[in-house]
């Protein structure tokens, strides 16, 4: 286990460094930078140089990259402000420390991810199990049909419809907003309920189909048939043998979905005017804000690496034949 953790940690550090380097050099290869955007129309060469100097863009690229990456480990100093480790730089656009901004925005993204995941796992896996258990029955047909229809929808389609019905049309609910869970749990749930449900709807459909097909495959396995032949109850065999075996592909996809959601549910946040990590990523790109883009990319990559590790650990728990070493 220790060897596994050390190996993955070293691998994660190297991966993050490479992602950081790729992001940085792709970004600076673009035909314009934040200084050009900020300089506007009345942009004399001197003014452009002043802005570049103020932002540190006049330094050699290698030094800019090194300053950024080393800041993550040892921190950095900016005019009038110290940025402690892990320092992800200072936003060109807002001059806020990127790490502080990410810490401020992450709870919303985490709330959306966790809330929607609970909903789509309960509903999706529940419906998939039921459909597999009652294969060929009306229940199966309804679940399969509904998942087919819902999986073809997109958040940018369902989101505005939900807002039109529940907020702008009937006024039953207020505009979606984020209230910290620790401050007001009810406000948290009510404020994010529409985006959570809309997100979950799309994923529920996918997980219903996935759970159904995986379970049907497991139910046809030799060891399941043997267990049934030995006289074990259908329910016991279903949960003890078939269900556990069907979790491997589900956990794999769940790991990928969660990491992409934690990296920023861009469309959801834009649709519902919420300020999470996804919105930050868009802001970084739109404003040519290199530190912000680097910060969001690295945090997103970090989330993916952590979830990959958790997925590997989950494999070993689900199937003892899989060894972490």
């Amino acid at each position: 286990m220790l060897q596994f953790i050390i190996r993955r940690t070293v691998g994660a550090a190297v991966t993050l460094f490479l992602i950081g380097a790729a992001t940085f050099f792709l970004f600076v290869a673009a035909p314009s930078d934040y200084a050009s955007l900020s300089c506007g129309k009345d942009c004399s060469p001197q003014r452009l140089e002043d802005i570049r100097e103020a932002l540190g863009l006049n330094l050699p690229l290698a030094q800019q990259f090194w300053d950024f990456m080393s800041g993550i480990v040892v921190g950095r100093d900016f005019p009038g402000e110290h940025c402690p480790a892990p320092c992800l730089g200072q936003s060109f656009y807002s001059s806020d420390l990127v790490w502080d901004t990410i810490k401020d925005r992450f709870p919303l993204t985490l709330s959306l991810t966790v809330g929607a995941t609970v909903v789509f796992l309960v509903l999706g896996l529940g419906a998939g199990m039921l459909a597999a258990f009652r294969r060929g029955s009306p229940v199966d047909k309804v679940a399969t049909g509904a998942s087919m229809v819902l999986s073809s929808f997109q958040i940018y389609f369902l989101g505005p419809i939900a807002l039109m019905i529940f907020v702008y049309g009937t006024g039953i609910m207020e505009d979606p907003k984020y209230v910290p869970l620790t401050e007001d749990p009810v406000g948290w749930l009510v404020g994010l309920s529409i985006p959570m449900v809309v997100m979950a709807t799309i994923f529920t459909a996918q997980y219903t189909r996935m759970a159904r097909s995986s379970l049907i495959e497991q139910l046809a396995e030799d060891h399941v048939r043997t267990a049934r032949a030995k006289g074990m109850s259908q329910r016991y065999v279903f949960f003890r043998y078939a269900w556990r075996g069907s979790l491997i592909p589900i956990v794999t996809i769940l790991g990928i979905d969660l990491s992409s959601l934690l990296g920023g549910a861009v469309v959801t946040e834009l649709t519902f005017s919420l300020q999470g990590i996804g919105r930050l990523a868009v802001d970084g790109a739109v404003h040519k804000d290199l530190p912000l883009t680097m910060g969001v990319m690295l945090v997103g990559a970090f989330a993916i690496l952590i979830l990959n590790i958790l997925t590997d650990i989950a494999y070993a728990w689900i199937d003892p034949r899989v060894r972490l070493s």
Binding site: A30, P31, S32, S36, L37, S38, C39, G40, K41, D42, C43, S44, P45, Q46, R47, L48, D50, I51, E53, A54, F78, P79, G80, E81, S91, Y93, S94, S95, D96, T101, D104, R105, L163, M164, V167, Y168, G169, G171, E174, D175, L270, S273, L274, Q275, R279, D283, H287, K288
Partner: protein, 597 residues
Amino acid sequence: MNTLNSRGARAALVALAAGSLVLTGCSENKGGNSGKDSKKDQKEAAVQSKAVAYEDAAASTGPAEEVPGARSGGTIQVYQEAGLTHLDPGQIYVSDAGQVANLLFRGLTNFQEDGKGNVSVVGDLATDSGKSSDGGKTWTFTLKDGVKDQNGNPITSADIRHTIERQYAKFIFDGPTYLQTWLSGADYRKALPDGGFGDKHLPASVLDTPDEKTIVFHFDTARPDLPQTLAMPGYTVVPEETDTKEKYDKAPVSTGPYKIAEYKVGKSLKLVKNDQWDPKTDPVRHQYVDGYDFDFGVTESTQTKRLISDQGASKNAIQLTGAVESTQIQDVVGDPAVSKRTIKGYQPYVMTLTFNLDRVKNKKVRDAITYAVNSKSLIAGEGGAYGGDVAPNLFAPTLPGYEAGYDPYGRLKTPAGNLAKAKELLKDVPAAEKKIVHAYRNNEAGQKHKVAVEDALTKAGFDVVSKEVDAASFYEQVGKLDNPYDVYITGWGQDWPSPATVVTPVYDGDQVADGSPNYSHIDDPKVQALIKKALVQEPEEAEATWKEAHRYILEKVNPAAPLWYTKQFQLYGSNIGGARYSTESSYIDVNQLFLKS
């Protein structure tokens, strides 16, 4: 207007604003009232384009005139798409932060409006709009009694000196540069590298503060526009004792009716009443509501939907600098209950198809292009009659000296272009001169511009080569003197209501340089002479000189084909009272607002 907060130039925003309208759709305005609204806007523009008056001490004394029906209390919700780039007054040059600055900060002077389009300059922290002497080269301001910052500290002449001197520091790079340049020349930073934070200060021969109440500016030439320049948000006061340099951008100290209670950059801003603000000293602002809650990150589409629905908190909401999204314009104008909650008016920007005079040397070619371009199709891409109006000349309707009927190329009669006239002019033009390289932005707005320009010029007989340019660095690219393009769509708007802030930067030959907004590279001795003459005249006297310069530029040189005037169309909630269009900002007038219940 989108915010996007490019420095420079409010005009830089116009392209983005235009883009934001275009991005959201291509609906055609079929609404019945658009023509009527345009005529109303034009009528109001006739008032707006009067020269700005400079008011005396009586007009500069508070409190501001009561808004009919106003009551106190409540919090106004403000929707805005992008966060603010800056809150340090010295760094504020763009409209969104300018609107917020109006609630937070005070300068020596301020603009006052009467709601009918008339704008004047009054003393804000100063007792009047300033007293000039020495032929306009010296300006003296005296501070009012009882003006304090949010901590209760009185504002003194030392604070005004500090406010101006800190603009020389390198960490101030996004704000206006007019005053510094006038006082110390184009290379002003060298005159005070540490921005007055050390022992060195500007000499008394440039900026004098003989006592705690008096500030004297000395210029090497007459500066009749100074009272208007000082009314810019970028020159509002930063009390010396409170200045935290770079950190000030996130936690500035208020001198206006509201102060910051909480600010999360790019996310939210909460303003509450500043109890140190004395209404008796302020002839412009009110403090009717208890506070403002700014919600950033709300797209124009969502802003419009929320305000049309008028549910819950949206009843108390306004758009700060956002506009009604173009695809929802019909939902707004088609419903009388919603339509009555709108603000309409011209923005100060004129969009032109600018000629690179170093490449398009034949005036016949420039005239032919001017006749051929299709303003109508370009405006359709901006949201139709609510997004823009045909521009017959180079002065915006908000600019003193604007003449609605001045239309030397018959643009009003033939908004879709006069191809017959264009072809006639091109008869004797060699084929090589008919090849035109058009630079356009690589965004959705730019794509629409490309189609419209290419189509019109091709029909007139030109061989058009369209070149895509990165939208973010578009002005940097076309601002290069040796740029390889013949024509490009650019926009410019006044920094205050004076042609000096339009004709000088855009058409003065002295400004021809890399990065200069003189994108046409016009360098004409007569234009320069007229500019020099107008710059030292009092606003009302200068109006005639500017008009003469305008006519000469457009008819005799023709450095840019006028295309369209940009327009503002905003929506607010049903519980908002006192909402009106501000001639000065071209957005909702934040100084007048209250909640009805």
